[in-house]
């Protein structure tokens, strides 16, 4: 962890020697570009392997002796074809998409209102409500899924996508509220005061003044919620039983993995297709992801 910082300088730290070390190109390659290249290769390799496996015919897939496993000699769409037309994969994709969109919409709506109330309609104890929401984020799904399963069952929602849409906000709302509080804080309060003097109601202020200015925050919160809902696993595993209502991550693991012989080609194709929507989404909004991850306020 400290190698880089430590190895920047030679052991005898006289000023001119350090200056030279600072400019030395070879040193820069060894201490900076080489480790960075290793990091990038290791972080990306599983995706490369996933992608290359999904386009390999089985003959190449299970024969490393005659084919170089890192390359494809005769790419095939068999695995993807099989996935799309012989399994319920398109159906799972649609379910996942609608659950993610529904949960995102619901949590965005409730967290915008909550964040506005906490940050702008200051009231007695608003900071405790903020603290409570922060604490709610620290409750992980792993300790909630068993009692939630019984709650969902009592409400008659078991085995319906609605159960997922209603339970995902438990981890989305705290995050989005916390993020939006930060964005609202960055909007000058004077703007709202002006509108208040001009006779706008509080809700008009929220709709016409605060929300348009908080659009980057809304986008961040929205794409984040979408990604988190798309990736959610444990609730979807515990609350959904019928095969056609499963979400992609659960369905791949429970429906495609059958018997002792794993169809690695189809499994990897399923993983690739399941990752692509999020990855594409991500590539359009990288800056928003980074800014919401780090809480930095852009614009």
């Amino acid at each position: 962890m400290t190698d880089q910082a430590a190895s920047d300088t030679p052991s005898s730290a006289t000023a001119p020697a350090e200056q030279m070390a600072w400019d030395s190109k070879a040193r820069r390659v060894v201490t900076l570009y080489l480790p960075l290249a290793c990091f990038v290769i290791i972080l990306l390799f599983p995706f490369y392997w996933m992608a290359i496996t999904s386009f390999k015919p089985n003959a190449e897939l299970y024969d490393f002796k005659t084919h170089n496993p890192f390359l494809i000699t005769s790419p095939t769409l068999d695995h993807i074809y099989k996935l799309l037309f012989e399994t319920a994969y398109p159906r799972w994709l649609v379910t996942t998409m609608s659950v993610a969109v529904g949960a995102t919409f619901l949590s965005l709506l409730s967290s915008v209102l909550a964040a506005y109330a906490i940050q702008r309609l200051r009231f007695k104890g608003s900071q405790y409500v903020g603290l409570g929401i922060y604490l709610a984020y620290l409750v992980p799904p792993s300790i909630l899924f068993i009692p939630l399963a019984t709650t969902v069952y009592q409400l008659g929602l078991f085995d319906t996508p609605l159960a997922l849409i209603l339970t995902y906000p438990t981890f989305l709302v705290p995050f989005c509220t916390w993020l939006l509080i930060g964005y609202f804080k960055s909007i000058p309060y004077e703007l709202e005061e002006c509108a208040l003097i001009d006779g706008a109601t509080r809700l008009q202020i929220l709709r016409r003044i605060t929300l348009p200015l908080a659009v980057p925050g809304l986008i961040s919160a929205g794409i984040f919620s979408f990604t988190l809902s798309w990736n959610e696993f444990i609730y979807a595993l515990a609350f959904i039983q019928s095969s056609e209502k499963k979400t992609v991550p659960v369905a791949i693991l429970t429906e495609l993995v059958s018997g002792d012989v794993y169809q690695w080609g189809a499994l990897m194709a399923g993983s690739l297709l399941g990752s692509l929507p999020v990855a594409i989404f991500y590539s359009f909004f990288v800056d928003y992801y980074v800014s919401s991850l780090t809480g930095a306020v852009k614009e």
């Binding site: 299970y62 799904p141 991550p249 980074v290």
Partner: protein
């Protein structure tokens, strides 16, 4: 009639309805604004949390309401070697994976903090493992850890020639445990690195210049400037990382499902196996409840670290 048209100099502004006017009454507005979030969190978070603690003291099974049995579930668990194995592995997994993630993540953040070409592209690429659904990348790792066709075995045996037999990743106890930890570290590095990079960028360069003028070594600059100033964000990120590593479920469920011989069960996967798959809701809830003390400890750690500096919104939220 004519009078009406004459006096109508300016178009009358549409008056807000009674509902809108009622909403201008601040306490009501606050109530209405907080209602959706508070309602959702109460019904699907606070209530289940309480219900879970209650379930832990009953013998509820799927499809049968349970009786209050006091501490029986916990007494049973205390004598269950499998439970202790899961506690041990959860702590071990969290400790090693957190250490690995932060060591490598901090290193990566320090590397990225230099002047680099294509910096934003690089940052986007590095965050990718964190964006892709964990289960799907876990399946990729499962394939990488395949006993027969592992690409790592191919590299070691056929390309580098440092081994004569394939790696045995998942079928014996300790290799399986380390393989899972490696996958967890792989997934955690981007989050740690990008959060810490944000922290690094807030440190003023003038501090480094001043230290450089005073003849400090690189190690001293790291130890006395970077590290102390990074401490607050490091503490928050670490708390989140510890909580979500300790309660991890997806990775283990996707790659080993707790095997071989139940050696890689985390508390969360054991709770799932007993509670949902086995139908013993009460016992599963007891296992889940046993995780709470660990989480409270991690949260207190976060609280006291946060108390040093004022709260930072959004930062370090997973």
């Amino acid at each position: 009639m004519t009078v009406a048209t004459v006096t109508d100099w300016s178009r009358s502004r549409p008056q807000p309805g009674w509902f809108m006017r009622a909403l201008d009454y601040k306490p009501l507005l606050i109530l209405v604004c907080l209602l959706p979030a508070a309602g959702l969190l109460t019904v699907f978070l606070t209530y289940p949390l309480g219900l879970g603690i209650w379930l832990a003291f009953t013998d509820t099974k799927i499809g049968r309401t349970g009786q209050w049995i006091g501490l029986e579930n916990f007494e049973y668990l205390l004598e269950d070697p499998l439970f202790w194995k899961a506690v041990f592995y959860s702590v071990f997994y969290t400790a090693v994976a957190t250490f690995g993630k932060f060591a490598l993540g901090l290193w990566l953040a320090l590397l990225l903090n230099n002047h680099l070409p294509f910096k934003s592209l690089l940052r986007a690429i590095i965050l990718l493992p964190w964006i892709v659904p964990t289960v799907l990348s876990a399946i990729a790792f499962w394939w990488i850890y395949d006993p027969q066709f592992s690409i790592l075995s191919y590299l070691a045996v056929d390309v580098l020639g440092i081994r004569t037999t394939n790696f045995d990743f998942l079928s014996t106890v300790w290799p399986a445990r380390w393989s899972l930890i490696a996958a967890n570290i792989w997934r955690g590095i981007p989050f740690v690195a990008i959060s810490l990079l944000a922290g690094l960028q807030t440190i003023s360069p003038s501090l480094y210049e001043a230290a450089l003028l005073d003849g400090s070594t690189a190690w001293q600059r790291f130890r006395y400037i970077t590290f102390p100033l990074l401490m607050p964000i490091l503490a928050i990120v670490m708390t989140f990382s510890i909580i979500f590593t300790f309660t991890d479920f997806q990775l283990v469920y996707a790659i080993t499902r707790g095997g071989p011989v139940n050696s890689t069960h985390l508390m969360a996967t054991l709770a799932f196996q007993r509670g949902i798959a086995g139908g013993e809701l009460g016992e599963g809830a007891a296992i889940a409840v046993s995780m709470i003390p660990f989480l409270v400890f991690a949260t207190l750690f976060s609280y006291f670290a946060l108390a040093r500096r004022k709260w930072q919104q959004g930062e370090a939220n997973d």
